[in-house]
Amino acid sequence: MSVETGHPLLSVRNLAMRFGGIQALADVNFDIRQGSISAMIGPNGAGKTTVFNCITGFYRATGGSIHYRSDSHDINLVQVLGEKLHLKDFLNPPRLANRLYYKLFGGSHLVAQAGVARTFQNIRLFREMTAIENLLVAQHMQIIRNPISGVLQTPAFRRSEQDSIDRAHIWLKVVGLDKDANRLAGELPYGHQRRLEIARAMATGPKLICLDEPAAGLNPKETEELSNLIRLLRDQHQVTVLLIEHDMGMVMDVSEHIVVLDHGEIIAEGTPHEIENSPTVLAAYLGEDYSNTVVAPDGTTEESRPQEMISA
C-alpha cells in the first residue's frame, strides 16, 4: 500500500480552539490527501475529538482555517458555521453580508452538504426508525424533497423514492445488513449499529468520511471486518477516510498516514512505520522516563522535542 499522490482534500491551518480559559488546540496544521486513509491518534485528552468536531462543523474553531477542496467545493469549513461579527466587518459590506448570511443560515449541515460525513463515538442512530429509514434520511440531498410532489405522489417523486430505496439497499448490502433492513435501528446488535452508522454516513455521498473510534467495543474479528470495510470504501467508493482510533493494531494496519496529537498540538506526522519508530510519540504515550531510556542512544534529548516535531 502506498500513499496516493492526490491533492490535499483538507488543509488544516493554524487551528486553535479555546473553551473558556482552556486552550484545547493550539496551532494545529496538517493535510489530508484525497483518496488516502488517515488516522489521528494521541493520548486521552490530546484534542483529537476537538479537531474532529472542528472539521465536521460541530465546534466553531476560535482561530485558524480548515480548507476543503473537492471537485465541486472550495470552502473554509470554519467560515460556514457563522463567525462572530467584528467591528471591522461593518466597514466592509460584502464581508459583512457574507458573515451575516452564514450567521443566519450557516451551521454544521453546510459542512456535511459540502461532502464531509462523520460517525460518532457513542453511536447516534435514529433509534426508533428502521435501518433502511436511517439510510433514507441520509439521502435527503439526492432526492426530491418538494412536499407538494410528495403529497400528490407524482411519478417523478415515486421514481426518486424508489431510487433512494434501491441505493439504501445497496449500502445495506455493502455493510452486510440487508437482512436487518426493516428492523428498528435501536434494536440491532452493537456491531451492526456501528456498521449501520457508517452506511448512513456513506449514503450522504461524501468525499471525506470521518470515523470517530469506529472499532470501540468491537471484538477482534469485527475489527478485522471493519478494517476491510474501510479499505473497500476507499477503493471502490472513492472516499477519503479520516479516523480516530485507540486500537493501534487497527490503525497501523489500515492507515497510510498518521497524525499524532498531544496537549492540543501535533507532535508527529507520517507513515505508520515512521510513527512506530518516532521517539516523541513513544514519549507522549509512555511518559518521559521511558522515552529517555529508549531515546538516549540516538542522542535525542527532551529539549529537542519541539524541533523534530515534523517528519513525513
Binding site: G20, T49, Y59, F120
Partner: protein, 305 residues
C-alpha cells in the same frame, strides 16, 4: 420625566422583582440540578396563597392576635406544607421519569400543573378569595403633592426576600447540604458514586424551591389581599423569565433577573402601557433567549457531541 413617578415605578419594580426572584429560585435550582422546567412551580405559589388565607383564619380562630406571632406561624406552616407539596410532586410525577425522553418530564409537569389548578378549583371554588388587611400604614417620601410611597407590607416583602435569599445563599455555599447540592448539579453520576444520595438532594431542592415560592406567596397575599386558582400561571412564566434573564442555574442570577424584570416591567407599565406589560415581559423573555440564552450571570453551554 417626573422624577417621582420614575422613583415610584422603580420602587414598585423592586418589590415586584423581589417576588419574581423568590419564585425564580425554584425554577433555577430545579433546572440546574435535573435540567427540567418545573411547570407546576407557579401553581405551588398559588397553593401557598390559599394556605395563607386558611392558616390566618385558623390562627385567628385560636385566639392568637399578636401580629408578629401570627405572621411567623403563617409563614412557617405555609412554607412547610408547600415544601411537602414540592416533595410529593417530585416523588410522584418526576422521579419515575429519570432517564426517560426529553419531553416526558415537561409533559408530566404540565399535567401536574393542571392537576393542582383544578384540585384547588374543585375544593375551594372558582371565585376570588381574600384575606383581611393585617398591616396598615404607608411610608411617604417627598412633598404633599408629589411623593414616592411604600406600604409597610411592601417594605416587609423586600426585607423578607433578601433575608430568604441570604439564608439560601448561606446554605448553598457554606453547609454540607449545599455542597452536596452543588456537586449533584455539576455531575449527578459522579456525586452518586461519591456516596451522595442524589435522589434525596433533588427532593431537597424541590422542597427549598417550593418553600421560597411559599414565602413569596404569603407576602404577596398579605399585600394584595385577593387571589384565585389561576394566579400561578402568569407569575410562573414571569418568574421563569427572571430565572432565564439572570442565567438559569444561578442563584444570585435569579434574584438579579427578578429585580431587573420587575423594574423593566414597572417602567414599561408606568411610561408606555400597562395593558401590554405582560406582552412586554414575554417579549423580553424571547429576546433574552434569542440573543443571550445564558442570561446575565449564567455560563454558556458547550454542546456535547
Amino acid at each position: 420625566m417626573d422624577i417621582y413617578i420614575l422613583g415610584q415605578q422603580l420602587l414598585n419594580g423592586l418589590i415586584l422583582g423581589s417576588i419574581y426572584g423568590l419564585i425564580a429560585i425554584g425554577y433555577t435550582m430545579v433546572y440546574g440540578i435535573i435540567g427540567m422546567i418545573n411547570f407546576a412551580h407557579g401553581d405551588i405559589y398559588m397553593i401557598s396563597a390559599y394556605l395563607t388565607a386558611i392558616l390566618l383564619s385558623l390562627i385567628f380562630s385560636l385566639g392568637i392576635t399578636s401580629l408578629p406571632v401570627v405572621l411567623l406561624l403563617t409563614l412557617f406552616f405555609a412554607m412547610a406544607i408547600t415544601g411537602t407539596y414540592g416533595w410529593a410532586i417530585e416523588r410522584v410525577a418526576y422521579r419515575p421519569l429519570r432517564g426517560s425522553t426529553r419531553l416526558a418530564p415537561l409533559i408530566s409537569a404540565i399535567g401536574m400543573s393542571l392537576v393542582l389548578q383544578s384540585y384547588v378549583q374543585i375544593s375551594q371554588g372558582a371565585r376570588n378569595q381574600g384575606v383581611p388587611i393585617l398591616i396598615k400604614g404607608v411610608l411617604r417620601l417627598g412633598g404633599e403633592e408629589q411623593f414616592v410611597q411604600i406600604t409597610y407590607i411592601q417594605i416587609l416583602i423586600v426585607i423578607a426576600s433578601f433575608i430568604g435569599m441570604a439564608a439560601l445563599t448561606y446554605i448553598i455555599l457554606r453547609t454540607s447540604l449545599g455542597r452536596q447540592c452543588r456537586a449533584t448539579q455539576q455531575d449527578r453520576k459522579m456525586a452518586a458514586i461519591l456516596g451522595i444520595n442524589t435522589n434525596r438532594i433533588i427532593s431537597t431542592v424541590f422542597v427549598i424551591g417550593s418553600s421560597m415560592a411559599a414565602l413569596a406567596g404569603v407576602l404577596v397575599t398579605l399585600n394584595y389581599g385577593s387571589f384565585d386558582f389561576y394566579i400561578g400561571f402568569v407569575i410562573g412564566i414571569k418568574a421563569f423569565t427572571a430565572a432565564v434573564l439572570g442565567g438559569i442555574g444561578s442563584l444570585p442570577g435569579a434574584m438579579l433577573g427578578g429585580i431587573v424584570l420587575g423594574m423593566a416591567e414597572g417602567l414599561f407599565s408606568g411610561f408606555v402601557s400597562s395593558d401590554y406589560k405582560d406582552v412586554f415581559a414575554f417579549g423580553l423573555l424571547v429576546l433574552v433567549l434569542v440573543f443571550r440564552p445564558s442570561g446575565l450571570l449564567g455560563k454558556p453551554e458547550i454542546e456535547k457531541v
